[in-house]
């Protein structure tokens, strides 16, 4: 075969290489801001809840409170805590009176970013091994998505997150001349971007509801306190506002 004849041949060269794809859906600054907003919201809720539970026995472990209302100080505790958008469930832990486990989904949102997060400590009683076991067994499921968490924690700590994709380049030669070259990239980029966008959306929605939870929880607290002070209470809702009308005849 002569060299001139060689020139007429069409050859195709396929090359696949690994490439890094930087995901820029969420910046480190944005993630720090989300984590801080969640922390502040949780702190505010805890402060308000502490107004009622400080007169009860409060144990704390793994971002969960075990509240023991031995003397029936607040029969409306479940309603009030739920009004603040927090999680509460009655438990049987062998203590006299009523006992509840309390936490908040915000804990899960924060732990997705910061795995070793610990909320403010408002406990006033020392936890026994027995109670600790019960708290562990009956703990709330924070539904932390480990795959998402790993990505967010990397962005939070390192500042960016990258995935590995495969770039395939198909080069077509006519003889020794390159006549076309096409590259395609195969990666999970779209899935990762969607996962991060969904997280951003749900966290934003939850945080925006926090103001409403604070308003409703405060209204419920005032409602309960006013009833204890002998007032008849009527609750009215007017758009973003809640109005309480307290009346007492003497």
């Amino acid at each position: 075969m002569s060299w001139d004849e060689d020139l007429d041949y069409i050859s195709v060269n396929i090359e696949t290489v690994d490439i890094d794809i930087k995901i820029s859906t969420i910046s480190q600054e944005k993630l720090v801001e989300i984590a801080n907003n969640c922390k502040v919201a949780l702190q505010e809720k805890l402060k308000k809840i502490n107004v009622i539970v400080k007169n009860m026995k409060v144990y704390q472990c793994n971002n969960t409170l075990l509240v023991n209302d031995r003397y029936g100080i607040c029969r409306e505790l479940e309603e009030i805590v739920q009004s603040f958008g927090m999680l509460i469930k009655p438990i049987d832990c062998g203590l006299k009176g009523k006992s509840y486990l309390i936490s908040d989904m915000l804990v899960g949102a924060i732990q997705t970013i910061i795995s070793d997060f610990e909320m403010d400590n408002i406990s006033n009683a020392e936890l026994t091994n027995e109670l600790l076991d019960i708290m562990k067994q009956q703990a709330f499921d924070m539904k932390i998505n480990q795959s998402l968490s790993q990505k967010l924690q990397t962005i939070y700590k390192v500042g960016s997150y990258s995935i590995v994709g495969q770039k395939t380049t198909v080069s077509t030669y006519e003889g020794r001349s390159l006549i076309s070259q096409e590259s395609t990239v195969k990666s999970a980029e779209q899935n990762v971007v969607r996962e991060l966008q969904d997280y951003l959306k749900s966290t934003k929605e939850y945080l925006s509801r926090t103001n409403e939870y604070m308003r409703d929880g405060t209204a419920k607290l005032l409602y309960t306190r006013a009833r204890q002070m002998g007032y008849a209470v009527e609750e009215k809702r007017n758009g973003e506002q809640v109005q309480l009308v307290l009346v007492r005849c003497e």
Partner: protein, 67 residues
Amino acid sequence: MAEKKIVIDINSDGKMHAETFGMVGTECVDELDKLMKDLALMTSSTKKPEFYEQRTQTTSTVKNKHD
């Protein structure tokens, strides 16, 4: 029978507004203090004319008709 009334507006931005009716002197402040304890910090207050009214005590004497 005297009617004591408190109207509280709670906004989602965390602000609260409370107004009392049928209370005289410092009674309104005392009552709001009890109600809002640990829940809210008073940032501003406007005293209504009733605040400056003195609480008067009246003693009624009933006399027997046949005396």
